[in-house]
Symmetry: C3
Subunit: 342 residues, 3 copies
Amino acid sequence: MTFVRNAWYVASWASELTRTLERRTILGEAVVLYRTGDGMPVALRDRCPHRLLPLSQGRLVEDRIQCGYHGLVFDPSGRCVHVPGQEKIPPNARVKSYPVAERLGLIWIWMGDPDAADEAEIYDLPEYHRPDWGVAYGDALHVAADYLLLCDNLSDPSHVEYVHPTTLGSPSSEGVGVEFEEEEWGVTTHRWSLASEPIGFAKAFGNFDGKVDRWQYYHMHTPSIAIIDFGTAPAGAGFEAKAGNSDNCIRVFSCHFMTPETEASCHDHWLHVRNFGAGDPAVGEGISEQFRIAFAEDKAVLEAIQCEEDRFEGGTRVGLDLDAPAALFRRKIDRRVRAEAG
Amino acid sequence: MTFVRNAWYVASWASELTRTLERRTILGEAVVLYRTGDGMPVALRDRCPHRLLPLSQGRLVEDRIQCGYHGLVFDPSGRCVHVPGQEKIPPNARVKSYPVAERLGLIWIWMGDPDAADEAEIYDLPEYHRPDWGVAYGDALHVAADYLLLCDNLSDPSHVEYVHPTTLGSPSSEGVGVEFEEEEWGVTTHRWSLASEPIGFAKAFGNFDGKVDRWQYYHMHTPSIAIIDFGTAPAGAGFEAKAGNSDNCIRVFSCHFMTPETEASCHDHWLHVRNFGAGDPAVGEGISEQFRIAFAEDKAVLEAIQCEEDRFEGGTRVGLDLDAPAALFRRKIDRRVRAEAG
Amino acid sequence: MTFVRNAWYVASWASELTRTLERRTILGEAVVLYRTGDGMPVALRDRCPHRLLPLSQGRLVEDRIQCGYHGLVFDPSGRCVHVPGQEKIPPNARVKSYPVAERLGLIWIWMGDPDAADEAEIYDLPEYHRPDWGVAYGDALHVAADYLLLCDNLSDPSHVEYVHPTTLGSPSSEGVGVEFEEEEWGVTTHRWSLASEPIGFAKAFGNFDGKVDRWQYYHMHTPSIAIIDFGTAPAGAGFEAKAGNSDNCIRVFSCHFMTPETEASCHDHWLHVRNFGAGDPAVGEGISEQFRIAFAEDKAVLEAIQCEEDRFEGGTRVGLDLDAPAALFRRKIDRRVRAEAG
C-alpha cells in the first residue's frame, strides 16, 4: 500500500451520516461511521477485536456501538466499556478511532497519525460559502481503478476533446497550449481558449451570441482533491472575468474529492458551485446531469486502463508532453508517502 | 488442509440419495454418490482417472458408473471393470471408494483410512428413535465460512442474546453463568436460567403461565457434530425435567451435522427431535421456521467474520472468558489432526 | 505460455469484420481488428502505448485509429502519425501490427515473427470452393478450457458414442478399431464401421435403406485445426465413396479452427461443407443444428475437465490405447513450441 495516510479524505456525504451504522472501506481499511445523539460524527475500525465481526453489523446503544456477536460495547473513542458476562475488561479491548470532521457538506476522516490531524488543514473553497453562488452535490462515483489514474485524468485538460466530445470538449481546442505550475499544495494546470466557439456546456447554461474566451484551471491538491475552475466569457473579457473583476461570465468550480478504497478502486465524491442560477436547484441539477455523462465516460476509460495495467506484462510506455503535470503530481504524492515512511 | 479425516461426516440426506448421480465436495474432495439397485449407498471419488471428467457426468449402468467421456466402467469398489476398445484394463484404473452408511436419516461418509472405519462409531441420539418424540429434518445450510467458526458459534451459548434476540435469546440471560466440561468425545457447555421470563421460542411452543427454568446444553462432538439440548419447565421444575423425571416441559434436541466443503465453507445438515406434538408435522415445521431465521442470522455473522479473517493483516485479538469451551474444542480437534499426521 | 506463435490462427469471421473496431484476445494478447475503407483487414495490438487504453475504445478516422483518451492516431502499420498538442512524435510511439489475411470466410492472424508469415501456408480445403458442394458457417464457440483439451477431443473418435449418443454416436461402434498416422503437418486418426446401422446423422440427411459403411477421418493440423471428414455410403460402397469415385454417399467436412484465448479458454470457429443439398441453406442449417447439440456436449465435458485440471493435486492418471493419436499431436505441438524458443 502506498497511500498518503496523514491527510484528510472524504468518507461520506454529511447528509448520509445518521444514527445508522455505515461501513466504508478507505485506504484498504474497513471503517464504521455514525453520528452521536448530539450529531457528532464518529469513525471506528469496523472490526470487533474479539472475533472480528464488523461492528457495523451490531447496533447503536446511545452513543456507543454494541457488537452483534457477544455484546461488547465500544465508546466513540474506541474503548471497550462493557463485556457481558465478565467483570474485567481486557486492556487490549479497543478499536482504532479516527479523527473526523464535517466541512463542505462532507464527512472528512484522517487515516494516519491522530496526533498529526489538524482540522485547519481541511480543504475549503471560499465560493462554496457565498450566498450568491449555487451549490449542487453530485454522486459518490465508484471507479474500479487506482485513484492515481483518476488524478492523472484530472491533471490533464487535453483528454477532454477525446473523452467528452459532446459535453465538455470542443474540437477547436486541439493544440491549445497547456501550462502548469507547481504549488506548495500540489499542481495547477491551465488552458485558455481565446475567441473560440462556445462548447456544449456554455451553450446550455450561458447566453453567448458570438465567440468566447474560455478557461480551465485544474487545481490538484495532494493527495486526492481536484478543483476544476472553468469559465466562459465573451471574447476579450476572459481575463477580467477569471480575475473576478467581471460578472459577465459563467463560472463553475467542479470539485472532486477522491478517496482510495483499495489499490485498484476509489470513490469520487463530486460537487460543484456556480455563479449563476444560485437560487434555482434545477440549474444545479442540469449541470450535474451533464457531469454524470462526462464522468461516466471517464470511468469507462479509467476502468479499461486499470484492466490493462493489471495484465501489463512489460513493454513500451510512451511519454508525451501533456503528461508533465500528472507526473509532477505523482512525484509530489510519492514524496509525501516516503516522508511518512520515515 | 487441517481436517480430521478419520471421522464420519454427513454427505447427504438419506432421502436425497437415489439412482441419480450426485456430486458433493467434502474436505476439499469431490465425491459422487448414488444408491445401487438394492438401495445401498455408494461413494466414489468423482473423477475418472483417465481424463479427469467427473464421474457424476456419466451414467449409472446397473450398479456401476460409466464415464461420460470414453465409457470406462467402475464398480462400487472403485475398480475399473471395462474399457471400451481395449482388452487389458490398466491396473491403476481405479478410483477411491469411501465407506458409507445410513443413520438418522442421513448418509455418512468416512474420508480417511478405510480400515479404520467403524460404523459403530457413528453418532446416535436415543430420542430420535422414540415413538413419542417427533423428528423434523431441516436444511443442508451452506455457510461460506470455515466449519471451525461454526463450531465456535455452537460451543457458545452467550451469543444467543445478541445474534438471535427475537427467536432464541432473551435480554434477561445476560450475565447468566456458562459452565463447561471436557468430555472424552468433545466438550459440553451449559447454562441454566432459573425463574426467568420464557423466551420467544418457549412462548410459541409451550404453555407457561409464569416464570420458567430454562436449560441449554451444547454437546460438541469432535470434529463436527453439535447437539443442543434445550428445554423449558415451570420455575422450580427444571432440574427434574432435564433429568428426564418429568414430562412437564418442552424439550428439543437441535442437531447440527457439519461437513467441511473447503477450508472456508461448509454444509450444516440440521434436524431436531422434540418431546411435544410428535404426531403433528406442522409443529416440527413451525420449529424449523424459527430455526431457519436463527441460523440465517448465524450464517450472516459467520460469513462476515470469514471475510475479515481472509483480509486480517495481523493485530490485536482479544480473548474473553466465554471463549474457553470453543478454545478447548479447537485444541481437541488439533490433537486429532496431529494424531492422524502421525 | 506455451503457444505456437508462428502459425495462422482464426481471429474472426470475415463477415463480422467491418468498419467497427473489434477487440479479440488471442494467445493472451488483446488485438483490435477492423477493415480499411478498401476492405483490407487490419489487426493491431489493442493498447495505446501512452496510457494503455484499448484502441478499440477509440474511433476510426479513415483508415487509422484515433485513441479515445488523448487522440493519438495510429496507421494500419501500427505507427503513430499524430499526437495532438505536440509536433514531435516520440519514436517509440507505435503498436504491434499483425499480418492478417482472409480465406475460407475467415480472418486469419499471425501472432509470431512477422517475417515468417507466409499466406501460402494458410490452410485450405478444396471442397470449400467446389460449386456442387454446400458451405455452412457455424458459430465461434467459446470453450472455457485449454485448446489442447479440445485438440485431444478432436483427435479421438472413440468419445463419440459416449458424449454424443443421440447425434453422432452409435452404440454399435464400440470396439471398432481406430488407426492413426503421423503426417508432416499433424496426425490423422480414422475409423471405419462397415455394414453397420446408420447413425442419427445419416438417417437425418441420407436416404439409406439398409446397412451402411461409415468412415470418420480426423485430420489434425498443428497447432489447432481439425478437419473431420466423415461419410456414409451403402454397405460395400464405402471405400469407393471415400476415394471420391462414387457420388452415392453423404459426405461432410466438419472444420474446426481453434484459437487459444488464454491458457484455459479458446474459441472454436466451426463450419462445414457437404456434398448434398448444396443449393439449400436449410440443409446446412439443419446440420449445424445437430452440430450445435454435439459441440455443446463437448463443451460441457471439456469445461468440467478444465476445472478438475485446475484443482488437480497430483495422483494417478491412467493412459489408454485410445490416447495415442492425441499424445502424438501434443508432442508435435511441443516440438514446434520448443523450435520457436530456439
